[in-house]
């Protein structure tokens, strides 16, 4: 047993040496992290945030790819999201007030943006600018990053607690998950004017659907009185909003006992998770489904080529699991262990 362990260790060491040599010759270590998925894990008290890579053919699974490429350094916690620009990966880490910029092919750290960020969450790229939601200390804001110089050049104040942010036709849309039931809209073509849309309880996921409408998932939230007694639940909803007029045009309201955690669109269908199950409805449906596709408690998901990549962060105290479900059979065709506290799945070419 011991001998095999030793041999295995030597084998691993040899791998490291080989990659080092590659590095010395100037050949990028990575053509590795292409054509596959990147999974970002938030990390927790049990360990730092990290990124895992799984190749399209599932043959290569690498955890901690940032640490591997950067002298075992850590990203810190909580790794909220990744964004991509000019073959670079931008890693947004909340508690370290930083965005780490990685060469996309090598995953080596090029620079770290630390000035002008306070509790950064998500970034969306418009032209050569990144717009980053920040919780702030007193007041929340959207930091504007010049992606050519990787510096924060300005900021836009918004209502407290902005989380996910997207961009569509010169406007930024962001959800305020915890404190307010709002979507903020910033008009980039009108002096960054901020307006808000009131939605259902605790909005989180948002995207532009195939009909060019804004879709917002509100998870639903618990209501308290002044002395923190639970007095009820504000139900969530899936709401469709006209992104030019900011008018809500459709609401699929949830009953009080339903919470929906994740939502995305794939080929004109909405896929969502609720109560540890994955459901599908058409984007034209007016109500939630009653028949799940399959059971899976997911903390993050993404779909490509008929495959749903679902991650389960469990209790954030152990490695997460990744399952790839074939949507033609609704069966898992691959599973592996990935980053601690996995919440996001990104496809990379």
């Amino acid at each position: 047993m011991k001998a095999t362990k030793l041999i295995f260790k030597l084998f691993l060491l040899s791998l490291v040496f080989v990659s080092c040599r590659n590095d010395d010759n100037g050949t990028p270590v990575q053509t590795l992290y292409e054509n596959g998925v990147l999974i970002s894990g938030q990390g927790s008290g049990a360990g730092s945030g990290s990124i895992s890579y799984v190749s399209n053919d599932y043959k290569k699974v690498v955890n901690n790819i940032y640490a591997l490429a950067n002298n075992q350094k850590e990203l810190g916690k909580f790794l909220q999201s990744l964004a991509f620009y000019d073959n670079k990966t931008y890693v947004v880490v909340d508690n370290t007030n930083s965005i780490t910029v990685l060469g996309n092919t090598s995953f080596e750290e090029e620079t770290k943006i630390t000035e002008g960020l306070i509790g950064p969450k998500f970034m969306t790229v418009v032209g050569s600018k990144g717009y980053v939601t920040n919780s702030g200390t007193e007041n929340s804001f959207v930091a504007i990053v010049d992606l050519k110089t990787n510096t924060v050049i300005s900021k836009i104040d918004v209502t407290n607690g902005p989380e996910q942010i997207i961009h569509f036709k010169g406007k930024l849309f962001m959800t305020h998950t915890f404190s307010h039931d709002l979507v903020s809209v910033i008009d980039l073509n009108n002096d960054n004017k901020v307006t808000t849309i009131t939605v259902a309880g605790s909005p989180d996921e948002l995207f532009i659907n195939s009909n060019n409408e804004l879709v917002v998932l509100s998870e639903g939230k618990t209501l308290y009185d002044d002395s923190w007694n639970v007095i009820g639940l504000k139900p969530g909803a899936i709401q469709t909003i006209n992104p030019s007029s900011n008018k809500i045009i459709k609401t699929i309201a949830f009953t009080e006992d339903v919470k929906v955690n994740l939502l995305m669109e794939y080929e004109n269908d909405y896929y969502y998770t609720s109560g540890g199950k994955v459901y599908k409805i058409s984007n034209s449906d007016n109500s939630l489904s009653t028949t799940p596709l399959f059971e899976a408690a997911l903390s993050g998901m993404n779909i490509k080529d008929g495959k749903l990549f679902g991650v389960n962060a469990g209790f954030y105290d152990a490695l997460s699991s990744l399952n790839v479900y074939d949507l033609s059979t609704n069966k898992s065709e691959f599973d592996t262990e990935v980053a601690l506290g996995a919440t996001k799945v990104y496809f990379v070419e």
């Binding site: 370290t96 200390t137 919470k259 152990a318």
Partner: protein, 624 residues
């Protein structure tokens, strides 16, 4: 409730009046000095369990904070969030809320989370610190599953005047100071102590993966005062009062890789009062205690803001401890404890908990060599059902030096206020965690060599852990089971060779602590833990070396063995010495110095928060 308390109080008073009369008539006039300790049980009366008593010198050598004191000198494993940060102690791999901390016999674990933060108390002027391994719920109530830490004051009824003043200055602008005055006559005893500690705590983070990073937002400052006063009506009738106040302000340090965003602050405010009356006659010993404690923390998410979250509690407690000498060899004990605790936590409307506990015990010195104690306890609690617990202890002396000992007990830990009432998440259906324990030990009690060993087996069930439900809402459940076994060793050796005095102390703990279902190691539990000191004294010069060694700990439930997802094992050395500058009949002045973490070893107790590298200390101590 109040009515009952009053009744009990008057009953107590009535009893005392009879006894007082008896006591005053007591003609036996013992000559030995009377030392009064409110919690005499742990040091004198525990049968079948392992105790380690810290010396004043051990405290002074690791005086920076209680975490350091206990980490280098006791069998507990401590996890702190950075040097000086929030800190919790664990025995034998049980959880932090399974460690009871007692101030003069009164449990001071916070009602909010069931733990005591070791960096929010002051122990530098305490006279007795006793670390008892293993369950003690019968006597010390909830939370004593893994073991208990006892911080006691002593009052001496004897003509004396003592002053002990200590001051130290260390790297990172750190200073630790205390002043202790004891004055007494055969009637009166007074003790006054005060402590003051302060540090910028901005040490370099020596993790070689990162350069030029400092521990940011880690400064702390705390001060405490305590006063104990006792009056001796007779050698067998004393009234005493203990009071202490503490205020600590800490900033909570940042983490690697970027510690600069850390911006939060913590304030602790504790005030404790205890009135004790003990009276004894030839057959009866009565000990009546009344205590009023207030404990509060304030957490500032943003240190520059006035807004904070808080947790505060007020505890009123009465207890009555009766010992009745049935025969020369057999003693019966009755213990009644009544507590009313009011907890007030931001987000949780004020909650009240009342508890009444009744304990019966029999202590028998069956033969000259065999002593046994059986104790049973029933607690009635206004919030939930508390299990009946018992403890059976035995000491068997093979001869004057060799002792075998055993303890079999059941113990419990009640759910905390957070567990029960956290808005939208608390679970009112929780029941107390319970444990079963068997300890088997051998001790060698020589005049130069002290060896204490203990095999332990502990089974903890219905452990309260927070888990997300299917909607992703985290709620506490009585879910886990764990199994703890291992061995604890403690040794103390004294040897003189000519003018050289040698002294060795050491604790070694081997722990297997596993989750019953997964059979994985519990997180943050080192398999091997060692601390020890070697001291050499030659005339007026003392030199010592200290070591702390801990094996790798896992931080994830699935025991991932990766950098950043486990904490590497380490061994850390401190070197120190002191010089007795002068010694007169009345006083002595000592000058000391130490180098801590001599080899500049990187070591951590929580992820991404390295402890200080090599650092220096000078200190001065004057006593008369």
């Amino acid at each position: 409730m109040m009515k009952l308390l009053c009744k009990l109080f008057f009953m107590g008073c009535a009893l005392f009046q009879c006894v007082k009369a008896v006591a005053q008539n007591d003609s036996i006039n013992r000559l030995e000095e009377v030392v009064l300790v409110a919690d005499v049980y742990v040091k004198e009366q525990v049968v079948g369990q392992k105790k380690v008593v810290l010396s004043k010198e051990e405290i002074n050598n690791n005086i920076t904070n209680p975490t350091e004191t206990l980490r280098f000198n006791s069998p507990v494993s401590i996890r702190d969030y950075g040097n000086g940060g929030t800190s919790s102690a664990r025995f034998r791999g049980t959880s932090a809320s399974n460690t009871a901390v007692l101030w003069n016999g009164i449990n001071i674990n916070a009602i909010g989370n069931g733990q005591t933060d070791l960096n929010s108390i002051s122990i530098n002027t305490s006279d007795q610190i006793v670390i008892k391994s293993g369950g003690g719920s019968v006597k010390y109530g909830s939370g004593a599953i893994g073991g208990s830490i006892h911080i006691n004051d002593e009052l001496r009824f004897k003509k004396h005047q003592n002053l002990d003043v200590y001051s130290s200055y260390s790297s990172f602008n750190t200073t630790s100071n205390y002043l202790k005055v004891n004055i007494g006559t055969s009637k009166w005893a007074l003790k006054v102590g005060s402590t003051f500690n302060k540090s910028d705590n901005d040490y370099e983070l020596i993790d070689s993966r990162y350069l030029n990073l400092k521990n940011e937002n880690g400064a702390y400052q705390n001060s405490g005062v305590n006063l104990s006063v006792g009056y001796q009506f007779s050698k067998k009738n004393q009234l005493s009062f203990f009071t202490t106040a503490y205020k600590g302000e800490r900033f909570l340090s940042g983490e690697l890789p970027n510690p600069s965003p850390a911006n939060d602050k913590y304030i602790d405010l504790n005030q404790r009062n205890l009135l004790v009356w003990n009276v004894e006659s030839s057959e009866f010993k009565h000990l009546l205690k009344g205590a009023f404690l207030t404990q509060e923390y304030r957490y500032f998410d943003d240190k520059s803001s006035d807004k904070y979250d808080y947790g505060k509690s007020k505890t009123i407690l009465f207890n009555y401890d009766l010992q009745y000498k049935l025969t020369e060899k057999t003693q019966l004990t009755l213990f009644v404890d009544v507590q009313s605790i009011k907890g007030d936590i931001s987000r949780i409307p004020s909650k009240k908990r009342e508890q009444y506990a009744f304990t019966l015990g029999v202590n028998s010195k069956i033969t000259k060599y065999l002593e046994t104690t059986i104790e049973v306890k029933k607690e009635l609690n206004s919030t939930f059902k508390v299990p009946f617990v018992f403890s059976l202890g035995a000491n068997y002396d093979l001869d004057i030096r060799h002792r075998l000992l055993t303890n079999i007990s059941t113990n419990y830990r009640v759910p905390s206020l957070n567990d029960l009432y956290w808005p939208g998440q608390g679970n009112l259906n929780l029941i107390p965690e319970t444990s079963k324990q068997i300890d088997l030990g051998y001790q060698y009690l020589g005049s130069r060599l002290l060896l204490k060993s203990m095999l332990f087996f502990t089974d903890v069930t219905k452990k309260i852990i927070w888990r997300p439900n299917k909607s992703g809402i985290w709620r506490p459940l009585n879910l886990n089971k764990s199994y703890h076994s291992g061995i604890e060793l403690y040794t103390k050796l004294k040897k003189n060779i000519g003018d050289f005095d040698m002294n060795i102390t050491g604790n070694y703990i081997y722990t297997i602590a596993q989750d019953r279902e997964t059979n994985k190691e519990l997180i943050f539990v080192p398999k091997h833990l060692f601390n020890g000191a070697f001291k050499l004294k030659y005339k007026s010069v003392t030199l010592y070396v200290q070591n702390l060694t801990q094996s790798k700990v896992f931080t994830t439930k699935d025991n991932i063995d990766q950098i950043g997802r486990s904490l590497n094992g380490f061994t850390v050395f401190n070197l120190g010495g002191n010089l007795l500058l002068f010694k007169t009949k009345n006083g002595k002045l000592k000058l000391g110095s130490s180098i801590k973490n001599v080899f500049n070893q990187l070591y951590l107790f929580s992820i991404s928060r390295p402890m200080p590298g090599r650092n220096y200390n000078i200190n001065i101590n004057y006593k008369f």
